[in-house]
Amino acid sequence: MAEKISYKSVFFNPLSKDNPVVVQILGICSALAVTAKLEPAIVMGLSVIAVLAFSNVIISLIRNTIPTNIRIIVQLVVVAGLVVIVNQLLLAYAYDVSKQLSVFIGLIITNCILMGRLEAFAMSNRPWPSFLDGVGNGLGYTIILVIVAFFRELLGSGTLFGCQVMPQWLYNHGYENNGLMILPPMALIVVACIIWVQRSYNKDLQDK
């Protein structure tokens, strides 16, 4: 059975049709907190891709040795270990971003995408497809994060990656940055809009 899975669909499905954030509704917590600016959103996305891919591979490698009754704890320990490593790396090589992300790097551990993928995929598949699945889901998560952060930074601060992009003449004509956009609740509304757009095209995802 495991042999028959198409690698292509394993990798590409999570990007849109099976997106972890807007379709499976997993990993929302961190998606909201770190998306006020593009830069932390991208770093967060990359961290999740790394943790997801490697934890998928590790769990997939040891999947036949794990005693069932402590399955969840084993998964948590592996994930937590990887998150700590990512956190230490960020502290050493991207100090400013890691300061902005603060506790949310730690919260990757409880990101439901991780536990969801480990349970649903890595526990029953071989390492290579698990790796692809991890990267694919991580990318799906990152795409949503980047879209949300793009709108929030553009409309909320008039900048992208910290550089001013809203032209001055707009401000001269009375345009103002929308302060509401940088407050956390607006991230939810932006995600809701993405869901709205995606489900208008993809009718079979709609709730009855």
Partner: protein, 205 residues
């Protein structure tokens, strides 16, 4: 007095759902009706009240830089803070299993209503988030940790029950555009509630 303020602030101002949006996964999955929402809310509160003080003690006496000084002079320089994440999650996961076993043994009726939620809780961001905020904010004593844990838990309970009640009504009485039905509209309701809860920011405590 200080702790009472913190307790009330944790419920309304620092609300885990409306101010930080933590624990959203189980929040969205379980807020379809009030009864199950209440069950999960109670379970989360319970776990926060138990794990926060344990993690506080662990942090102060084992993990923090210089925390091992009580073992003797030579341990004063040990800094185990890089282990804090993994220790916190280990405490949370093992407490969840422990509580599950105890409840199953001594109160089958409680287990029947609460049991299915317990495995969900180990991966609830609100619980780990509570411990991480505790670490970040440098709490003064165990009691502060207990009060904050209780407050965050009750705040979470309040939020999930409120949203579940609204969802029940929305489902039966309103005509939501098809693509927004289900999660979409829940996101928007939660965001609006979050904006409403921001008005608590100005409260002086």
């Amino acid at each position: 007095m200080e702790n009472l303020n913190l307790f009330i602030r944790s419920i309304f101002v620092d609300n885990m759902i409306f101010a930080y949006f933590l624990g959203m996964c189980s929040f969205l999955a379980v807020s379809k009706n009030v009864k199950t929402a209440l069950g999960l809310g109670v379970a989360v509160t319970f776990m926060l009240v138990i794990t926060l003080p344990i993690n506080y003690l662990l942090e102060t006496y084992v993990l923090k830089a210089g925390a091992l000084a009580w073992l003797g002079e030579e341990y004063a320089d040990v800094d185990l803070s890089f282990l804090s994440l993994i220790m916190f999650i280990a405490v949370i996961a093992s407490m969840t299993q422990l509580v599950e076993m105890v409840v199953e043994k001594y109160s089958p009726s409680l287990y029947a209503s609460l049991g299915i939620f317990l495995p969900l809780i180990a991966v609830n961001c609100a619980i780990l988030g509570g411990s991480l905020f505790m670490q970040q904010r440098d709490f003064g004593s165990v009691w502060t940790a207990v009060c904050a844990g209780g407050g965050w838990g009750i705040g979470w309970l309040l939020a999930i029950v409120a949203i579940a009640a609204i969802r029940e009504r929305v489902q039966s009485y309103s005509n939501v555009p098809a693509p927004l039905r289900g999660v979409g509209i829940t996101f928007i309701i939660t965001a609006l509630m979050g904006i409403a809860f921001m008005s608590f920011l100005g409260i002086k405590l």
